[in-house]
């Protein structure tokens, strides 16, 4: 029922490639988990059978969580826009700062600083990411969360879709939106519709992704694709009749 805790290695003093890889794994796993949380949150906002008005408190809390993730990802992207000469230093610094975030955000999931390598527990879920990560590492040493496209693109489109979700009240999109908003004086319904989507198609991918980081977890290189796919889905829902 619970996601298994992911024990991470202490990467602060590793200098060899293996250490760097382990560090990247840490970063990737945090980014993956954060991505999974984001996906799950978006699904929760959409999933609603619309028979009964959903819980506004729950929707607001989920939306706030999505915003937090978005802000942090934005900061990550901003951070990576550092001058090229600092790029080499960047990965390690980045690992340390992410480690701290990991500890706070995910740390209590059975993790404790495990000195040294070869912690058998981490091999399982993380090693599944190994082949991809190691392939990526030499080519993109400083990128982590966004393997394929530039981070800003994803950020931008994500940011845009979230705003779309919240701005639907203001912008009167012609055609289908008028069907949605049958009553001008019921903004709650509007927000609710918008927050939860119209068709509420169930998406199983992100939820499964968090169950102990099973091998089915998408590799980092496809995380952007799935993210874009998610955005498309959200936008689709918004403009679909």
């Amino acid at each position: 029922m619970f996601a298994r805790g992911l024990k991470r290695k202490c990467v602060g003093h590793e200098e060899d490639v293996e250490g760097a890889l382990a560090g990247l794994k840490t970063v990737s796993s945090y980014s993956l988990q954060r991505q999974s949380l984001l996906d799950m949150s978006l699904v929760k906002l959409q999933l609603c059978h619309m028979l009964v008005e959903p819980n506004l408190c729950r929707s607001v809390l989920i939306a706030n969580t999505v915003r937090q993730i978005q802000e942090e990802m934005t900061q990550d992207g901003t951070w990576r826009a550092v001058a090229p000469q600092a790029a080499e230093r960047a990965p390690l610094d980045r690992l340390v700062s992410t480690e701290i975030l990991c500890r706070a955000a995910w740390g209590q999931e059975g993790a404790h600083p495990a000195p040294g390598l070869g912690d058998g527990h981490t091999q399982g879920p993380v090693s599944d990411l190994c082949p991809v990560t190691s392939a990526q590492a030499p080519r993109h040493p400083q990128s982590s969360a966004w393997e394929m496209d530039g981070p800003r693109e994803n950020r931008g489109s994500f940011h845009k879709s979230l705003d779309q979700i919240f701005e639907t009240l203001e912008t009167k999109n012609p055609s289908c939106m008028e069907e949605l908003f049958s009553d001008v004086d019921s903004p709650y319904y509007d927000l609710d519709t918008v927050l939860t989507g119209m068709m509420g198609g169930a998406r199983s991918g992100p939820c499964e992704g968090l169950e102990g980081l099973a091998p089915a977890t998408p590799a980092p290189s496809s995380s952007c694709k799935s993210d874009l796919g998610e955005l498309d889905h959200v936008v689709e829902i918004l403009v679909e009749t």
Partner: protein
């Protein structure tokens, strides 16, 4: 009450039909009302103590059952309005009848519960079965008399307060003036007069002009037990606002603002969600307020706004499971909390049908379980313990074995005695302390 004293389980009422959604003793403790997901209210009455059976303190038996709310359909929005009873609040008794407020998401109703134990007999124009008599056969006249009959308890709706809430009502609270009450939804709080159903005063409105800017909702509200001008409301961001209705008509500006600074070492993506307050209750004295968030119960002194005076961990072992609890939506469960009559002990529910009590004086706490398997009539409840790691002792239960579908969200404490009511899904348990 020493909260580590064990309890005798002496009554369990199994309501097979629906999930219990609210539990509330009346002001004397003589009556206990429950509301359920099907819109029904069931009221229990305490048996009078009999001299013959001193060891059996009064048991609670069903007194009245009625359908309070029906499911409705909002045609404008094409959405159903649930009949689930969110809250019941009793009015203080002023005559032979009992009055209570019950509410679903949209409509508050005032119910009168009264007894009828006599009926008139000896009509002239009707016979005993109610059939009309042929006037020609009537030769004498008699005066009808009232004769005892089997007790009948009837509930009648006296007022319906509707169409005042766009959002879902989460709280109702009777004012100490006994003339007004308030109803709170996610974004607004309205003040009503019991006699007037077609209008109410809006006293709090936190709806932003642009709904896209909405980041915070009202989660609970309550009037001060003695000062009829004072009330508090809590928010999804873990804050409590105390308002004085004498200050202005619209109490958007609080008199006091209670918030605990965030602990940066515990910050995570779930920090805000678990800080959301699910219940707020004044102490009987009116000096303190108690709040429940996902993992803790906090007691605040009205005179100190910057942090609570006491914090009690309800189930801190869940802190490492927040991601999973977010996934299965348990993190949004709204637990209530209650004071005992003397404000010395507080109680709240947890998962696996566990509920917790904290003694504010001795700082001791206990975990008890409400379940038929573990409780026989007149048995003593055993304290339970959750094992968080390492070796599990014989009677302990490990965190991963907890049943998260068995949650105790609603509990109530008798106003003056050590009798508690615990709602476990569709079962109601009533416990009392040991009688020597």
């Amino acid at each position: 009450l020493k909260c580590t004293e064990k309890y005798i389980y002496y009554l369990s009422f199994q309501s097979k039909s629906d999930i219990i959604s609210t539990v509330e003793f009346n002001h004397t403790g003589e009556l206990l009302a429950t509301g359920d997901k099907g819109g029904r209210v069931v009221i229990f009455q305490r048996e009078q103590e009999s001299k013959n059976q001193v060891h059996r303190r009064g048991e609670y038996n069903v007194y009245s059952t009625f359908q309070s709310h029906e499911p409705e359909f909002d045609y404008l929005k094409s959405l159903e309005i649930e009949e689930k009873i969110n809250k019941i609040r009793w009015l203080p008794q002023q005559n032979a009848a009992y009055f209570l407020l019950s509410t679903n998401d949209k409509t508050v109703k005032l119910w009168k519960v009264s007894e009828r134990d006599k009926r008139p007999e000896g009509y002239n124009l009707k016979d005993e079965e109610g059939r009309l008599r042929d006037p020609a056969t009537i030769t004498t006249l008699r005066v009808p008399v009232l004769r005892p009959m089997d007790l009948m308890v009837e509930a009648t709706p006296r007022r319906v307060f509707a169409n005042a809430h766009t959002y879902h009502i989460n709280s109702i609270s009777v004012n100490s003036d006994y003339e007004t009450y308030m109803s709170a939804d996610d974004l607004r709080i309205n003040l009503w007069n019991f006699e007037i159903t077609n209008q109410s005063f809006n006293i709090v409105d936190i709806k932003p002009t642009n709904m896209e800017e909405l980041t915070e909702v009202i989660t609970a509200a309550e009037f001060h037990p003695h000062h009829c001008n004072t009330f508090v409301y809590s928010s999804s961001k873990g804050t409590i606002r105390l308002c004085d209705m004498r200050a202005s008509a619209l109490c958007d500006r609080h008199t006091k603002f209670f918030e605990e600074p965030e602990d940066p070492s515990n910050r995570s993506f779930f920090s805000e969600i678990i800080s959301s307050i699910s219940d707020v209750k004044f102490s009987h004295s009116g000096r303190y307020i108690m709040t429940r968030d996902y993992l803790t119960v906090k007691v605040w002194d009205l005179n100190m706004e910057n942090r609570p005076i006491e914090t009690y961990q309800v189930h801190d072992y869940l802190r490492s499971k927040l991601c999973s609890l977010y996934e299965n939506d348990c993190i949004f469960d709204k637990f209530e909390c209650v004071w005992n009559g003397s404000d010395s002990v507080i109680m709240t529910g947890s998962y696996n049908n566990f509920f917790r009590m904290f003694d504010r004086n001795t700082k001791r706490d206990v975990t008890l379980e409400a379940s038929r398997e573990n409780s026989k009539p007149r048995a003593i409840l055993k304290p339970r313990k959750v094992c968080v790691g390492g070796k599990r002792r014989k009677d302990e239960i490990s965190v991963d074995s907890l049943d998260f579908s068995k949650k105790i969200l609603h509990t109530a404490w008798h106003p003056s005695e050590n009798i508690i009511a615990v709602a476990a899904t569709n079962n109601l348990y009533i416990f009392q302390d040991k009688v020597n």
